[in-house]
């Protein structure tokens, strides 16, 4: 899952600098439009639906990782 998410981050931002530490603060091209692209791509790749609050709460790679993990778990239980 982590590997796939990293790939999603690479496709959205500058692939050279993306790693598990990437955040809104240290990633220059993490602007509002790329934030939108990131959410759309996460939804598509993991086949999940993110609530607006969740989308807004993603500030760095580990936020995204936690949200995706939780969503996948919820889906598995159902």
């Amino acid at each position: 899952m982590k590997k796939k998410l990293l790939e999603v981050f690479r496709r959205t931002f500058d692939p050279e600098i993306v790693n598990e530490e990437t955040s809104r603060i240290n990633c220059e091209n993490w602007d509002s439009l790329n934030h939108l692209r990131l959410s759309v791509l996460i939804e598509k790749e993991f086949e999940i639906y993110l609530e607006p609050e969740e989308i807004n709460s993603i500030k760095d790679f580990s936020d995204a990782e936690q949200i995706v993990a939780k969503k996948l778990l919820d889906a598995a239980i159902q």
Partner: protein, 530 residues
């Protein structure tokens, strides 16, 4: 290609694959004049009270008129029709927003008809395939002011690039069709001319509609031809006697109805019509025949044929979209079938003359040479896109490029040709750019293949040379740039009296100095200059 898009909402995601910059929301005052293509893409705002909404919509056309003045007429300006993705109405009979929107769309269509560089993009053509819940994702609307679902990005990009291709006139020229179970149901040889399934009940009515669609397609300039394994006499009799056939003999510019292999037949049709194999689409219900053609002639497009006749309308639409999409139909397109048929008449007429000059004289050929102008620019641009064989430099241009030559005072001429068998319309063009001193260079010279064989190519060039000589031009340079398809004009300039200066990597450069004997034209060409 660099795009500049005037917009009033977040639409970046729809244009991700392009080199594009955007105006601020609703701002028409900033513009990037380095862009090659300008786009107006506004949608009805989703967040306004209706009376303000109407005022907003009413202001758009004024804005477009202002923007148009900023955009050079040598650059394309695409205007999207206005759409209301949500279309919420307080009560059924409230058409106020629809009326404002429809009026805007009417205004831009009218506006575009006055300027060659303005093209309308019919946005309903994209949205019609989606229900409202697919079109809008309210979550993303509130998060980032996107009126359209970001998941539509890929289909939108595909659709938009097809629109651009249509505007740039990349289309196939000829559709070759099988007969049995393709144009009608059943097998002519077994069922007989009265009993093939056409018209009446299903499946006959589905084939009728398919033929109607193909007829519409031919009226946009697509050439139809037949390649079928049948007895030619049976088919001729069917065309004559079965009243339900919509497509008859006259709708086809060529046919090969025999028992030889279809790949050979297609090659013959391509030679007869002077159309390259890569401009042909082949339709056949038999997978075996399709496979054979695909294997032997890989440059031909061979789409799958639908398994059921009731799928034919969708198939016809797909054919039009994928291979024959076009922005606008010119006068020449509308009568193309006739022109190609007239050619076969001329060929048989030629056989009765022993002397070629007598034959030419008897044709009563008239040429009309016109300067490039508002009316003929679209046709000249179209010819530069489509002409491959009689084309000395094969440079491809759009309307706006031709306009650019004219604005710079370069010479742009086109020629229409007619004879006793028919009018071929505008079928030749030449562009000469001004050089140092009193010299010009022939940037482009091209003629449609269907008018060749009558000596008009020389008459055209010589007449144009004598016209520009009156302006004091005394040296003309010209080039031949070889391509895979223009071998036949390799020695054209030599033949009409140009002198070869050099030849580098196959590119030949010529010079022409005016001498009276080189400018005589046979008397039997009736030439008019407008």
């Amino acid at each position: 290609m660099k795009y500049y898009i005037f917009r009033n909402s977040t639409i970046e995601i729809l244009f991700e694959n392009l080199n594009v910059s955007f105006s601020e929301y609703g701002n028409i005052l900033s513009i990037d004049l380095n862009a090659d293509i300008f786009v107006w893409f506004y949608t009805v705002p989703l967040n306004m009270e209706r009376k303000f909404l109407i005022l907003a919509i009413e202001s758009y056309f004024n804005s477009i008129q202002l923007v148009q003045k900023l955009i050079p007429d040598t650059k394309t300006f695409l205007i999207f029709t206005l759409q209301d993705p949500f279309r919420a109405k307080p009560y059924i009979a409230d058409f106020s927003v629809d009326r404002a929107m429809n009026y805007f769309n009417f205004q831009i269509i009218d506006f575009a008809s006055k300027y060659n560089n303005i093209k309308i993009i019919d946005f309903t053509d994209f949205t019609k395939d989606y229900s409202q819940e697919h079109l809008i994702d309210w979550k993303y609307y509130f998060l980032s002011r996107m009126p359209f679902n970001p998941r539509l990005s890929n289909p939108f990009q595909e659709w938009f690039s097809r629109q651009i291709e249509a505007i740039n006139m990349k289309r196939k020229k000829c559709l070759i069709l099988d007969l049995d179970n393709t144009l009608w149901g059943g097998v002519l040889g077994e069922d007989g001319i009265e009993n093939v399934k056409i018209s009446g009940d299903y499946p006959g009515n589905a084939f009728t509609l398919f033929q109607q669609k193909l007829l519409d397609l031919s009226r946009t300039g697509v050439i139809l031809a037949i390649c079928s394994k049948n007895n030619e006499d049976d088919v001729l009799e069917l065309w004559e006697k079965n009243p339900f056939m919509i497509l008859k003999k006259d709708n086809f510019s060529s046919y090969r109805i025999n028992w030889s292999n279809k790949a050979d037949n297609i090659c013959e049709i391509s030679k007869e019509l002077n159309i390259g194999l890569d401009s042909i689409v082949f339709i056949d219900d038999s997978p075996t025949e399709r496979e054979l053609v695909k294997q032997l002639l890989p440059m031909i497009e061979v789409p799958c044929f639908p398994a059921h006749p009731y799928l034919l309308p969708v198939f016809a639409e797909k054919l039009q979209r994928e291979y024959f999409y076009v922005y606008k139909v010119t006068e020449e397109d509308k009568t193309k079938t006739d022109q190609y048929q007239n050619n076969s008449l001329r060929t048989s007429f030629q056989k009765s003359f022993a002397n070629f000059t007598d034959f030419l004289r008897s044709l009563e050929i008239s040429l009309t040479i016109q300067k490039g102008n508002y009316l003929n620019i679209p046709r000249i641009a179209q010819m530069t896109q489509k002409t491959n064989q009689f084309n000395l430099t094969t440079k491809r241009y759009l309307d706006v490029d031709i306009q650019k030559f004219i604005s710079r005072n370069d010479y742009v001429f086109c020629m229409s040709v007619k004879d006793k068998f028919g009018d071929d319309g505008i079928t030749g063009a030449i562009i000469l750019t001004m050089g140092k001193g009193n010299s010009v260079t022939i940037d482009s010279l091209l003629l449609s293949c269907r008018i060749l064989g009558k000596g008009v190519e020389r008459a055209f060039v010589v007449k144009v040379l004598s016209l520009i000589r009156k302006d004091g031009i005394n040296i003309v340079y010209a080039h031949y740039i070889p391509t895979k398809k223009n071998e036949q004009v390799k020695y054209f300039y030599e033949k009409i009296g140009f002198h070869l200066i050099n030849e580098i990597d196959g590119i030949k450069t010529y010079q022409f100095e005016f001498k009276d004997e080189d400018l005589t034209i046979e008397q039997f060409y009736n030439i008019q200059i407008i």
